[in-house]
Symmetry: C2
């Protein structure tokens, strides 16, 4: 993993924060979630695998831009089942992760594995699961991050007709779970096809995770490289549509050494610097992932509280004896107004409320009368956690917001 | 003008085509224009200076990006009245053109000079003319092109409050007359201020004339240059908003040799190639300008014909004796419908018609009754010119559409 020493945060701190969150979740947040069925309305209860999952890096790009080779370059060896070649080779999503020995696990098995965080992928169906795989191997880098290799994005209409599953949906699912998304381009595959645009659009909301790699930069001469790079930035600026310029790493992330004939020594120096920068960015992931995890945990706790307020409010509106089903129907029909009441009563931001239509749909399957009343102690426990225990936890190890 | 030999079209051909157009204008087109007052409604009659004017190159950019130095680099000497310095120095528009001896002519004089094509600038008023100047000197390059130096674009609100004239209006005027527009950036002045955005917006319709120069590229190291260049392309793509990538020349267009210390030999080679490419682009201008001139001449002839049809149609609608002023008012009020009649009668494209409101305004100052009836011979003369004489002229010298 290069000669550079890794400037990373002590793994012990990450582990301790993870353990702390795990404990807080079980003691303080999960009871509230379970009582008001947060899991049915919003998001499944968290399991250990959600806390223990390694930070993930996903590689995306047209076919043959060197995604699989990039992983080989990082690991300094092939992962089990890796295929490299000039034609479209990788035909599936492969999660490359740490394991005691080298093996490939088929998608259907991966999805039901309780200690792997991929259960959510079952919603994409059997056609997808047969194109999903986990490659395990012992490797020091994989102790810190998990890498997701993907099938190359095809151009034109080919892709839509060829794939038997929701390709952009899967990418969007992984993008939400990942900590870094690398978009690979090569000088001969610059055009951003319509399909690729849809893929990039499906990353929306995760823009801050995106980095771009202009790979195989040693394959063209200097003037061509400048043209290619300029054209890439020109179109990326339009497609990504953020004011901040995305970071582009220019280099050749290959298993073979850089092409010494076409590449001028000075460009070799540039490529090496860029490669070092990218490695540093990768090494930084665990620390960033830890920050992100805390952030999401806090967001989840707030959402669970709002959910509890909504459910207990609906329960309170139910009559003691007569007209229960009529009232239930009225409440569902006027759910938006009920949300507004809850919002006013507890001074909550409107933007934090769940989608009304989705909520209605789930609510139709329940009898509101059976819900629990508001339990102030449970709310208090979550407030304590947000106000004292989490800040305390961070202070004891490190302050991610410092 | 560099050691490169100039691959230009023979000047004799340009001259012959120019002379041919001049003759055709006087014999065939000008009579039609004058008869129906095309000059009052659309565009002043052309004079020799319009035909003899050299192709123009305009330099635009933030202050201190090296516009004046770029001209010095091209000419290998200062132009009369040139100021170069790190603070905002050029405070006026300077047309640098060929002349028998070195001198500066103030803007008010330039604007009234019959053999210079700058009369139109008087509409920008005295405040502008006092910030306008012509620098003349004998120079082989200036025999072929005229160069327009401009005051640096300022950032923020400074500019709007400081300039006493319509800055973007003037730029837009020059942009229409120019054959090439160079936008200069330097690595330390990349941001495209709101004012600069307005300037770029005022170039609309002339997008194909725009080239970009990333100047002073030797002032930063390789990795920085790549960042800077990438960021420039990122934002240019959004501002220029054309699908085609604009050509960016990377280099240092300085009166001094390239900074040998910071610049690696390989980048020096790149810069030299880029500088050669830009010079070639400049050398190509006279030929392109000639094509453009023919194109505009043909467009003008079509517009003059449509104008003649409109005017003679309005004349025809006037009563012989009574109710003239009432009819005139009715025609003006329903001018759009009258345009439509002319369009149908002569099978003309609607998009080629002039702006109705502007036409109405000018028409208010005239008595329609005094206009001329349609003179088919005059129309026939222009049709002959478009159908035979111009193609003949081009064939005799060269075919610009080959
Ligand atoms: N940095 C590089 N320089 C030169 N050639 C490279 C580089 N990286 C990969 N290649 C070559 O490009 C081809 C495609 O590589 P690879 O299979 O890794 O691409 P991929 O993006 O994984 O493609 P797919 O989407 O089809 O899986 C191979 O022939 C490989 O040897
Ligand atoms: N290629 C170059 N490399 C390094 N320095 C340069 C280069 N070109 C110009 N300079 C320096 O930058 C400064 C500004 O140059 P100059 O006056 O030509 O810019 P300008 O764009 O004409 O500015 P203004 O808009 O104020 O007229 C001067 O100090 C000049 O010496
Ligand atoms: Mg692959
Ligand atoms: Mg200047």
């Amino acid at each position: 993993f290069g000669s550079k020493s890794l400037r990373k945060m002590p793994l012990i701190a990450v582990t301790s924060i993870t353990d702390g969150l795990k404990r807080l979740y079980i003691e303080k947040l999960r009871p509230l979630e379970a009582t008001y069925r947060f899991n049915d309305f919003v998001s499944p209860l968290l399991t250990n695998s959600n806390f223990d999952a390694k930070p993930m890096v996903m590689l995306l790009g047209q076919y043959s831009t060197g995604k699989t080779t990039f992983i080989k370059h990082l690991l300094r060896c092939d992962y089990p089942g890796a295929h490299i070649g000039p034609e479209p080779t990788t035909d599936r999503f492969v999660v490359v992760m740490s394991g005691s020995d080298e093996r490939s696990i088929p998608g259907n098995t991966v999805a039901v594995h309780a200690d792997m965080p991929f259960g959510g992928l079952t919603t994409f169906g059997g056609a997808f699961l047969s194109k999903f795989e986990c490659a395990q191997m012992p490797h020091p880098l994989l102790d810190e991050i998990t890498i997701v290799d993907t099938p190359g994005v095809l151009s034109g209409e080919k892709q839509r007709t060829q794939r038997s599953y929701d390709f952009t949906g899967v990418i969007s699912w992984f993008a939400a779970k990942c900590d870094l998304i690398l978009l690979l381009f090569d000088p001969h595959k610059l055009d951003i096809s319509d399909e690729f645009k849809r893929v990039i659009a499906s990353l929306r909301g995760n823009d801050d995770k995106i980095r771009v790699v202009l790979n195989k930069a040693d394959q063209v001469d200097t003037q061509q490289l400048m043209r290619v790079y300029g054209a890439l930035m020109w179109s990326l600026g339009k497609v990504l549509n953020t004011p901040e310029v995305v970071r582009v790493y220019i280099g050749s992330f290959n298993d073979k050494p850089i092409n010494e004939e076409t590449v001028n020594p000075m460009f070799r120096e540039l490529f090496e610097k860029e490669q070092d920068d990218l490695l540093m960015d990768l090494v930084d992931i665990p620390k960033k992932a830890c920050d992100r995890r805390i952030n999401e945990f806090v967001k989840r706790a707030r959402a669970a509280k709002i959910h509890a307020y909504i459910i207990s409010h609906l329960k309170k509106e139910m009559p003691a004896i007569m007209g229960k089903s009529k009232t239930q129907q009225r409440l569902i029909d006027n759910l938006e107004a009920e949300f507004a009441k809850v919002q006013r009563e507890h001074h909550l931001p409107a933007g934090d409320f769940p989608n009304v239509n989705h909520f209605k749909e789930v609510l139709n399957g329940y009898s509101i009368d059976k819900f629990e009343k508001l339990k102030p102690k449970m709310i208090q426990a979550v407030d304590d956690m947000l106000g004292h225990e989490i800040p305390e936890l961070l202070k004891n190890f490190r302050n991610p917001y410092a």
